[in-house]
Every structure is written in C-alpha cells, then in structure tokens.
Symmetry: C2
Subunit: 339 residues, 2 copies
DNA sequence: GGTTACAAGGAAAGCCCTTTCCTCGCCTCT
DNA sequence: AGAGGCGAGGAAAGGGCTTTCCTTGTAACC
C-alpha cells in the first residue's frame, strides 16, 4: 500500500503538506502544490490508513452495536434505524452478533473497546443472571470511565443510557384484548425464561389476566427458543397438553408464525378454532395467513433513539426513554367459538 | 484509556514484557513478572488498542463485506454464512449497506481499503453500467495490487474470485415447470432492468419459454423495486393489463409475497386462479399461504464460500465457483384452470 | 578461573499519520 | 532602510503497540 510518505516523495513536498491537502485542512496551500499532490495521490491510488489516522487524531468516529443476530428481523429493524442515524452523523458502525451467548457478549464489549469505538449500543434482551450482569456492568463501567458512551435497549440493570420498549405494557394491552374477547383457555408460547424480555411480557399478560379475574397457570406457559421453530414446538406441546385451548399468545411474531404452521398442520383454523397473536409487528406479520394481530414496537425508531442518545453531548446522568407499544389489529384474533 | 506504558509502569517492567505477556508470545517470562503484569492489567482494566496493534503488526485480521442491505433476508442469509466462517478463522467482519447505490458502493470500497481489511466481499447484483463497472474494477484492482483479496457473489465482470449462483439455470428450471403445467398467459414480476440478476433470471425464463415454443413478450414483464411493495405494484399493473393471466413468476420471494397480497385483495385464489412462484427460498417462503414454490439458492453456503475463497492462500488466477439452484415444490403452483 | 552459552528482560526503532511549532522569505509600513 | 507581520511550507514530536537487537547475569564447560 502506498503511504503518505510515498505521496510526499513523489510530489516533492513534505508529509505535512500532503496530509493537509488530503484532509482539506483550513491551512492555505498553493494551487501548484495542491495539483502535484493530487496527481501523486491519483497515480499511487493512495488511501489514508484509517488506523494510523485514528491513532494520530483524538476523536473517534466508529460506534459498535451488539445484537443477538442481525438476520433476525427484530434486530434487522433496530439496526436499520441505527445505521441511518450513524451515517447521518458520519459514523461507521461495527455490528456484532452475540447469538444470545453471554460470554460472547462480554468478549464483544472488550473487542469494541479495543477498536476504540466512540459508543457501544447493546440491543436485545437481558438475562436473569446476576453474575453475568455484574461482569457486563463492570466492563461497561470501565469503558464509560474512559469517556466511552453506552446505550442499551430494553435492559433494566445496565449502566448507560437506555431506551425501553414497553414490553410489559404491550403485553398487557394484547392480553386484555384476548381476555376481553372471552377466551378462557389461553396458552402462552414463551421465549426462554432467563430472558428479561420474557419475564416483562409475561408480567404484562399476568396483569391483564388479573384484571379479568383469570390466571395464567404455569402449565399453560411453554418456554422454547425465541424463533419460528421454537414457537412451533411450544405450540405443539401446549396443544398436546390441553386440546381445548382457544387462544395462543406468542411472545414474538416469529414464534407466532411457528404456531400458525402447527395449527395448520393439525387442521385447526385461525382464528375460527384458535386465536393467535404475536409481538413486535415485524414486516412479515401482515403477509402471513391470517394476517397477525400483534403488538407494534417502533423498532426502527428504537434503534435511532438508542444511537442518538449515545451520541448526544455528554450528559452525566443516564437518561432513559420509554417507547410505546400499540396493538395492531389484523385477522388472527377472534372470540372463542363457544363464546 | 490505560495504555501499555501505564501497565508497564505499574508493574515495574518494560513495555516489551507487557506486550509479550498480553499477547502470549513464545518468549519465556518468569512467573513472578507475569503475575505482576496480569494484576496490573486487571487493575487498570487494560485493553490493547486494536489500531495501534494493527499498525505495529503486519497481518490484517478484518474482512469487509458490502451488501445491499443486511436486513433483507437474502443478504441476511449470505451474511450469516460469511460470519460463521469469519469467526471460525478469527476474523472480524465489517458490514456495509450500499442500499443499491453505486456511488455508495464505490465509497465503501475505499473505506474498507482505508480500514486495511484483508479481504473485501461484494455480495449482490451487479449493474448494467459500464462506467460504474469500470471505476469499481479500477478500485478493486488497485486494492488487489497491494495484496488485498476480493471475492464477489454473482457478478460477472468484476476482478477477484467469484461465486456464481445459478440464476439463469434456476429461472430456466422454474420456467419449465410453469410452461410444462400448461400456462400460456404468464406474467413476470421483475426487478429493475439494470440489475444483472434481473437479466440473468429473465434469460433463464426465456430459454424455458423457447423450449416450449412460447415467448415472453415485453408487455408481460413488469419492472419494479426488488421488494415486497415493488412486487405488489408490478402484479397490480400486470393484472390490469391482462386479467387472463394464469401465472405470475416473481424474480424473488419478497416480490412473490407482494404478488400474493394483491391477489388476495382482488379475491383471486392461489394457485387455483393464479399460480405464483418466487425465487431464493428465503425462510419465510414456507410460511406464507399458500407456501411458495420457489427456486432455492443455498445462500448461507454462498456466503461461506465467498469468504473462504477470499481467505484461502493467495492464488493468482481468479477462481469462480458455481452453485446450484433447485426448485422447491410447495403449494403455489398448479396447472391453469382451463387445462 | 576463564571462556562460552544461554536465558530473561529492556531499549529503541518502526508502523502511518496529524498537528504544533518553526523557519524562511516577502511585503508593508514608517 | 529597518522593523514588524504574515503567509506558505517543513521538521519533528507524538499516538500505542510489536519486535528486533542488545545487555546483563548466571550456569556450564574445559
């Protein structure tokens, strides 16, 4: 690779001059030199070494984001919002997939710190695991102590700014709809227990149940992987345990889609035989049959807010922003047959 | 941020020793010093500056990938394969979304070069635009001239290794199924004309048509954005122009899903009234109603191959690997009503 | 006892830039 | 004519790390 020095030599000027021209510094440089340098840059196909620049300059310009998996639509949407703001602000973003592995998450925080990122965004559910939370917080605090910015989405107990999707409230709202429609035998297709997202949403559901003088017994909650196949498995288990189920609440849309597929296989029609609702309102939710009634979280905006928070001027006290959830009514919810 | 020198000072040793311990160099260091250093590292929460390391070391360890949009399932899958191989090989990957903007693509090549990446992977359709192709090639060649590795997926005319999805062949195969089933009025929901993916797939369709002594007149091809809404718009246009259509071939699954939604709105049932087929076999294809008959491209593997090619030992002559397409039979294809 | 050999740790050069501080030459003003 | 000012360009000091080459101290050998 051609270096600054190569260009300088070729143009017969000092490195300082080349640097000034290449970076458009305010310092005035004569037209003649400028031309010679630019020509040399062209001829050598010179591109400045970003790492050397970073070392020499003081300000950082990269932000890191840790998600469970970008190819999961939930995170894809968040990342999209994030990217938009990032490029508006001239920042490069490094995306890291933790695949819901706490250790990997820890490693990535370290890696991003090593990369000297300006901010770290953590998206995705937290874990009920005090040990892990503690060590993550320790790493995050160390990073923040040296001027790093941290912003998390949907995690209660972490250092840094936070944007909190209304998981509890959203679940409460959709739960109300279910109970208001008269469902008595309702099953919950849930994500793994140790995810805070699971417990938050479950809490909302329970609040709705209480309001309608119902309960959500443990046997009507089936925990599984937080994806389509997990949803299918949990639905099958629920149905096997109690064939009278008239409604299934899935804790996200992917799981709801898995539920739909099992129901179809078993010849049960939705919503006539069984109501199914999801959570998140991912784009595909309107295109499955029947279109999913679900809870919308403004994911793109959540991502955008998270990075904006991190990038905004250094405020000492962590801020938390709540974002609302709304129920999207489509076709997969109906009253039970025997009303 | 604590630096190497800080650690050295605190442990009362030289920077060289700290470096050797932190990086596990083969050089032997006494147990006592090692302990002192490790303790200092702990206390200072020291993390080596990755940029300084990169500058000081010779070997690179990051690869860059340019896709149209990671949140598009097509690229999400490719990226997943890519990421897998990358972490197996201890590489960090930087993902760049070009949003199908040629200029941005050019910029990103530059940016990745500046980041000193070991390899650049370009995924996603090429453009029929000689000027752009030429300048992209120039940049790529400059990069390769200095030891950079390039690998592209599905682009004919670019420097570097390539993995070529069988776009023409896949389209030919699905085309044959359509014509063999007896469809005579078939419309094509196509992506923008200037994408090579469009022309390749169209070519395959034409070959199939020829074999069945049919043609694909221009008025039966509607070009639109390469996504769900584009598919919906194109389908509507096609239907308006010729209500007798009995089959719609969409050039990818997203567009097919858009087609499905328009058909549903208009009260046409699939596949009884109209057959719909897609392309790519993205995960959701099996979950829409009716499940999509489509062409499968092994996307995860394509991503994995692309990065493997780039990372393998420096072979001078570019290699190209073809990957096969297969038709996945589901429920959205049937013979036309009037035999 | 003197030489050699080796092991353990340190000094310093180098990686590629940015930026501060200088220098030099010329113009302007009195 | 001399002082002062200013404008254009360069020298050099970092920035944080790796790694080569040295130095020093000790063990081993004849």
């Amino acid at each position: 690779m051609a270096t600054l020095a190569d260009v300088a030599r070729r143009a017969g000027v000092s490195a300082a001059t080349v640097s000034r021209i290449v970076n458009g510094s305010p310092k005035i440089v004569s037209e003649e030199l400028r031309e010679r340098v630019l020509r040399a840059v062209q001829e050598l196909q010179y591109v400045p070494n970003a790492h050397a620049q970073l070392l020499a300059r003081s300000h950082r310009t990269t932000v890191g984001v840790i998600v469970h998996d970008v190819s999961d639509p939930y995170f894809a949407e968040i990342t999209r919002g994030l990217q938009r703001v990032a490029s508006e602000q001239g920042r490069l973003v490094i995306i890291c997939n933790s695949y819901r592995d706490p250790d990997r998450e820890l490693e990535y925080v370290e890696l991003l710190r090593a990369q000297q990122v300006e901010a770290i965004i953590l998206a995705g559910s937290g874990y009920h695991d005090p040990g892990f939370t503690k060590s993550l917080n320790a790493k995050l605090s160390a990073y923040m102590a040296t001027g790093g910015r941290v912003s998390v989405v949907g995690r209660h107990k972490l250092a840094g700014d936070a944007v909190m999707p209304a998981n509890e409230e959203g679940a409460y709202l959709i739960g109300r709809e279910i109970f208001a429609a008269g469902h008595r035998h309702v099953g919950v297709v849930a994500a793994p227990k140790q995810l805070t997202t699971t417990t938050d949403r479950l809490a909302g559901l329970r609040r709705a149940a209480r309001e309608y003088r119902r309960t959500l017994p443990a046997r009507r909650i089936e925990y599984a992987e937080f994806d389509r196949d997990g949803g299918a498995a949990a639905t099958a288990a629920l149905l096997d345990a109690d064939p009278r189920l008239t409604a299934i609440i899935a804790l996200n849309d992917s799981m709801a889609i898995g539920a739909l597929s099992v129901l179809r296989e078993r010849g049960l029609s939705v919503p006539e035989d069984v109501t199914v609702v999801g959570f998140d309102d991912m784009p595909i939710a309107r295109d499955v049959t029947p279109a999913l009634t679900t809870v919308r979280l403004p994911l793109v905006e959540i991502g955008a807010r998270a990075i904006a928070l991190a990038l905004e001027s250094q405020q000492p006290n962590p801020r938390v922003e709540e974002v609302e959830a709304t129920v999207i009514h489509r076709e997969s919810l109906a009253p039970p047959r025997t009303g």
